[in-house]
Symmetry: C2
Subunit: 263 residues, 2 copies
């Protein structure tokens, strides 16, 4: 599921995110819940069961209410996801300073974001097309911009570079998150899955090696799969590919700086 920015009243969600809501004494029963509590509970549900496990019923149940009770506090599920997203973005650091200059900062930034997305894989399902316009979203943009400005490059180039880094980090996180969730949902590890599939492949396509020689070459020198699938990403199989990929990008940025100096 891809979730688009809230269909409800945009003013309402922005007031919530920027802390501009007034809570006055009004007639009627005391509220047993609060928007903030609902957001936190929903984040908890999504962290465990993913975006597809995030339902109004599930959140309500955790709070001892029906799904409909939540609509007293939140106009639509889309708005709730917006609020969840901006709130959880607050976990990310906002300052990077490295003795290795922008290279070190970009590296730390990328690793922090990768871990963030693996901690909250549902964030990868939130549409990037129309931003939530919350304070934490702007803070992450501010942080990234600050790091990249150290390169001295002009904004149009920086936008391109930011896109490269962002797409790379999110793509890597997505692949890893999908792998983990597939393993959990099917109860079959990647290794076992491949062991059951590869014989079928030989059977069904006997000329495989002749048809796809390059693809086979590409498999050379693969690191052994980890013994413990619960290890953090830094020790997982994806780490090598992530590190070399990031290095390529950093070298690309450096080359772009050199070209800008020369030209």
């Amino acid at each position: 599921m891809v979730v688009y920015a809230g269909q409800g009243d945009p003013r309402w969600s922005m007031d919530v995110m920027w802390g501009n809501r007034v809570s006055s004494q009004r007639p009627g029963p005391k509220p047993g819940l609060s928007v903030d509590l609902i957001i936190d509970t929903a984040i908890g549900v999504a962290d465990v069961d993913g975006m597809s496990g995030l339902s109004m019923r599930a959140v309500g149940e955790r709070l001892g209410r029906t799904a409909m009770a939540l609509y007293t506090y939140v106009p639509t599920k889309g708005d709730l996801v917006d609020l969840m997203y901006d709130k959880v973005l607050g976990e990310l650091p906002t300052g990077y300073r490295s003795e290795r200059g922008w290279r070190g900062s970009v590296t730390s930034w990328a690793e922090d974001h990768l871990e963030f997305h693996l901690r909250h894989p549902w964030t990868l399902q939130v549409s990037q097309a129309r931003p939530v316009l919350g304070p934490n979203e702007f803070a992450t943009l501010e942080t990234a911009s600050g790091i990249l400005h150290e390169t001295g490059l002009r904004p149009p180039v920086l936008r391109g570079i930011l896109g490269v880094v962002l797409h790379f980090v999110r793509g890597a996180a997505r692949t890893e998150a999908e792998a983990r969730s597939a393993a959990e949902e099917t109860g079959v590890s990647d290794e076992d899955w491949w062991h059951s599939r590869s014989p079928l492949l030989v059977e069904v396509a006997p000329d495989f090696a002749a048809r796809f020689p390059m693809a086979i070459k590409m498999e050379q020198d693969k690191p052994a799969p980890p013994d413990d699938p619960k290890k953090p990403y830094l020790e997982s199989a994806m780490a090598e590919s992530f590190a070399t990929g990031l290095e390529v990008i950093l070298d690309g940025i450096e080359a772009t700086i050199e070209k800008a100096k020369a030209g």
Copy 2:
């Protein structure tokens, strides 16, 4: 929605994809449909209405059948999506030869993939964690590997580079696809959306400029939005960012080659 590789009998879908199915004369009514027809129809539905609009009911309706009729031909919806994915991948070119060497080939490859994903945005929702193992999927891998092998780099590095390019292209396509679909679903263009949101932002966060100076700098020298939103990507606003991002990646690959030669 993220779709994971088919839950049905893996052998069945592989036989379909690799063309290993025998159609013998058997008792019972003549089949009015075929797996292939269902796949093509489903692709048509998904191209127009996206992955979220792809339902067994919708596909059945296009074929003048009920949803359940499809289950005579296809074990689960997940398997159908697998078959759709591998089939549509057949659109992609398999040979690239450029007088500009691997740089030209990678550029063409990236542009072809970007256009492919914008033609079939639902492909971005297919999980990359566990491949479909179809002939066209392997063909695209073979093609990409062939291009990258021209760089002379070793497989582990090439895997990192392939990841960078793939994540970048898919990420750029995803953002653009989400933007288009948001515009279509809400009936509000990106420009109008921003025009209605930005006054709210000033209202709700009066100290915006002081809090996020870098983010504002980042907006400098933005290209004017296109007059016609139906233009192909090459003339759209994303084109500039895509082109410069790709250039950075290509420079990064080149720098990696130089380092490999030197070291």
